[in-house]
């Protein structure tokens, strides 16, 4: 009996550590975006330092998961939790890497002689990304299926913003060929932001898997949500 209690405690501790890692990633992304908006070199350096912390989290949590599986042989929901956690940390760690990359691009921009203004679209894109990872973390903490599904729906908006951004930057490059360097950096930053959104979507998928016990790809989930909405609309009309 006492062994089971410690097992539950270990699972709980794992969950809390996961949230801590998520929090660190959210912070890193936040800081990366701040450094981007103000072209703040100091902040960018902090983000790069923060990535080591996230990598440490990844390593130690993976270790914890493996130990838990080896010693306790979890089944059913517990096993799902541990496996989805193991997938989740990979996504979280990638997000941290993207934040670090953004910071590096910010450093490049700061080094270039030409000064550029950060377009509003980038700020919008980064805010959307931040909102998405924030919502994904909320869904993870409260294990909320609806919230996780809403995160999956948020990704399409990010994709759209990214496409707009790409078009805008292409136009700018044509208009102002001398200023291509920082514009390329901006394009890459947008790509990283878009990728962070994709990883947040993955996180949401794993949360859905943990709750429902069945793995569904995001397109399936989206279809499902659309169907549900249609039904809802029909019901409303009636």
């Amino acid at each position: 009996m006492s062994q089971r209690i410690t097992y539950q405690q270990e699972l709980q501790a794992l969950h809390q550590r996961m949230i801590r890692m998520g929090s660190a990633v959210e912070e890193a992304i936040h800081m990366a975006i701040l450094s981007l908006i103000d072209i703040d070199v100091e902040m960018a350096k902090k983000v790069i330092a923060k990535d080591d912390e996230i990598d440490d989290f990844e390593r130690s949590i993976t270790q914890d998961c493996i130990m838990l599986i080896a010693r306790q042989q979890p089944v059913a929901k517990d096993l799902r939790e541990i496996t989805s956690d193991m997938k989740l940390i990979t996504d979280l760690e990638r997000m941290g890497d993207h934040a670090e990359d953004i910071a590096k691009h910010v450093l490049n921009i700061s080094r270039s002689e030409k000064k550029i203004t950060i377009p509003y679209d980038v700020i919008q894109l980064s805010n959307q990304t931040k909102a998405m990872i924030h919502a994904a973390l909320d869904a993870y903490v409260s294990r909320d299926l609806e919230q996780a599904k809403s995160v999956i729906l948020m990704d399409s908006k990010i994709d759209k913003l990214y496409q707009n951004m790409k078009k805008y930057l292409k136009k700018q490059m044509r208009l102002d060929p001398e200023n291509v360097d920082p514009l390329v950096e901006l394009l890459l930053i947008s790509k990283h932001l878009e990728r962070i959104g994709d990883h947040a979507e993955n996180v949401a998928e794993w949360i859905v898997y943990y709750i429902e016990g069945e793995y569904a790809t995001s397109s399936e989930i989206k279809k499902e949500i659309k169907q549900e909405r249609k039904k809802q609309e029909q019901a409303d009309q009636e």
Binding site: I19, A24, D138, S142
Partner: protein, 590 residues
């Protein structure tokens, strides 16, 4: 109870009936044996008689003799319904001499048989009951010592009747047991039926109670047993009290919850594992974490994104002392400065309050910028005064008194400006300090306006500006500090003249439609942009710094107007169209 009775009742009934049957059986057995003994005595008497009768004929008895008598006796007795008799004649050694049923030579020595042995030992008669070796049934044996002769007469009869009695008793006993138990169980069922139903309904009630329904009360009816009634009554009264107390508690808790939730200050409770276990609504909105930590506790760092706060929590847990520190934290909107207050609770929880410092920071900034502005404004005329004084002293080239006069004139103007500035600063701080003005008197506002217009006439004439007061009203009695209202007129009109083009116009309108007096001063001067109009009432704010100073303004005029308006429960507003017009409206409750 019922179960126990149902188990033990039949057991007791069975035991009772069995014991009763056994007693009856033994009683019957004793009686029967006694009766049979009597019968056997009778047989013996008969036999003895026969012997005596025959002894008249001969004195010595031979075996044949005995055999004859034996069969004679048996025959005779079977006629009077004493059947299944067996008579055995033995000598004193225990050897069978004659037997009515068996051949004596085939029989073994009977000396060890208890009845025979008793006679050999000297008894006159003896009986024994046992299973016969030869017949296999229970038999009553009775042996006698025949008088005068040294022989033993043993008469025996089977006790078949007894086994019949035994069988009957067993049969009827079993039937009795079955019937009694059935009756007992049926009675038991009827007696407990009501209680059973009651208990069943109580069970339902209790399972509801288990789920948290405190409104349940135990029912009772006419047939409810006394104990059950007593129990359910005391239970009900206890429940009444518990429910009342629970409701009270709930009300208190709800009240507290509402109180904490509607607090316009973020409040968070953290446990010793550094997990958030409670947040109020304001905290959730501020940090945009809409998770219910009572259901899903999460690490504190997820809320604040500041690991340094975790170590502070640990410190508070250890020292049990409140900590206040200032931190800039990431909130939903922007990074905000907070005073974080962490205080320990009785249990191992920490209450964390985040006191928003942004307003205080703003105030601090304003104060320091005010001081900087004042020093700057004071230093500018002083520098120029000192400069000219220096020039007058050292420069020998200035010979003409005209030139010196000119310099002194400038010094005078600058000194004048310094005095004005200090006056304005004092006036402003005087007004700011007041809640209600002093030196209140009744006066005519229109007359006051005329007075001001006359005072400013020279300056207006210089720039050929015409001042056009509205003709209505001609008299407006107000109650206020006259100097203050005059200050408002002078400042507004002075500005209207100062920042006007040559040959411009100034319109003045006074009206009192209700409680408030509206003073409107409009000019067709340079005007200013909208962004400037937002800041125009700030202290030392100047749209065009150099020009304004040239014109001799202190930068405090409109600020003073604003504070006077505020002192009289009013406000001041401005509408300006660049290069066209500017309109100031002052609302005063006078």
């Amino acid at each position: 109870m019922k179960r126990r009775l149902a188990l033990w009742g039949p057991f007791v009934i069975t035991i009772t009936i069995v014991i009763f049957s056994l007693f009856s059986f033994f009683r019957v057995r004793d009686d029967f044996i006694f009766q049979t003994e009597n019968n056997l005595d009778y047989v013996y008497k008969y036999f003895e008689n026969e012997i005596e009768n025959s002894s008249h004929e001969s004195f010595t008895f031979t075996t044949t003799h005995y055999e004859e008598i034996t069969s004679k006796t048996i025959n005779a007795l079977s006629d009077i319904n004493i059947s299944d008799l067996r008579i055995t004649i033995l000598d004193m050694e225990g050897n069978v001499v004659v037997d009515s049923d068996f051949e004596p030579s085939e029989m073994n020595l009977h000396r060890s048989r208890p009845e025979v042995y008793a006679i050999i030992s000297g008894e006159k008669e003896a009986s024994a009951v046992r299973k016969s070796d030869t017949q296999g049934t229970e038999v009553l044996y009775r042996a006698y010592k025949l008088n005068e002769e040294d022989i033993i007469i043993r008469v025996s009869r089977t006790l078949d009747y007894l086994s019949y009695v035994k069988n009957s008793l067993m049969k009827y006993g079993a039937i009795a047991i079955v019937i009694s138990i059935s009756i007992f169980l049926i009675l038991l069922h009827f007696i407990f039926k009501n209680d059973h139903e009651m208990i069943k309904s109580h069970q339902n009630d209790f399972s509801k109670l288990e789920q948290g329904d405190l409104s349940i009360r135990l029912r009772e009816n006419r047939e409810t047993g006394k104990e059950l009634k007593k129990l359910s009554r005391s239970f009900n009264s206890a429940m009444e009290k518990i429910e009342q107390r629970y409701l009270d508690m709930e009300r208190n808790l709800t009240w507290l919850e509402v109180l904490v939730q509607s607090l316009e200050e973020p409040l968070v409770v953290v446990n010793s594992d550094l997990n958030v276990i409670y947040t109020n609504r304001y905290a959730r909105t501020l940090f945009n974490r809409h998770i219910d930590p009572q259901k899903n506790p999460y690490p504190f760092v997820l809320l604040t994104h500041a690991e340094v706060l975790d170590s502070l929590i640990l410190e508070v847990l250890e020292t049990k002392k409140t900590i206040r520190k200032e931190y800039t934290l990431q909130t939903a909107k922007e990074n905000t400065a907070f005073q974080v207050i962490m205080s320990p609770m009785d249990v191992d929880y920490i209450i964390v309050l985040f006191h928003d410092l942004s307003l205080e920071y703003e105030a601090r900034k304003l104060r320091s910028s005010f001081v900087a502005n004042v020093t700057h404004e004071l230093k500018t005329p002083l520098t120029s005064i000192r400069g000219f004084v220096e020039t007058l002293r050292t420069n020998k080239n200035i010979t003409t008194s005209e030139q010196a006069e000119n310099f002194l004139e400038i010094i005078d103007v600058e000194a004048e400006r310094l005095v004005r500035l200090i006056d304005d600063i004092l006036r402003l701080s005087d007004i700011e300090r007041l809640d209600v003005d002093y030196h209140i008197s009744d006066f005519d506002l229109i007359e006051l306006l005329d007075e001001c217009l006359i005072q400013l006439d020279d300056r207006a004439m210089e720039k050929q500006i015409s001042m056009i007061p509205n003709e209505e009203p001609t008299f407006l009695q107000v109650r206020a500090n006259r100097d203050r209202v005059k200050q408002v007129f002078l400042n507004l009109l002075d500005n209207a003249i100062k920042y006007n083009k040559t040959g411009g116009k100034v319109w003045i309108n006074i009206e009192k439609p209700g409680k408030y007096v509206y003073i409107t001063v409009k000019d067709n001067g340079y005007g200013f942009s909208e962004s400037a109009s937002k800041r125009i009432f700030e202290r030392f704010y100047r749209i065009d710094k150099s020009r304004s100073r040239e014109l001799g303004g202190t930068g405090l005029g409109l600020s003073i107007v604003k504070h006077i308006a505020m002192l009289y429960d009013g406000e001041v507003s401005v509408k300006s169209i660049p290069n066209k017009s500017t309109t100031f409206t002052v609302k005063l409750k006078i």
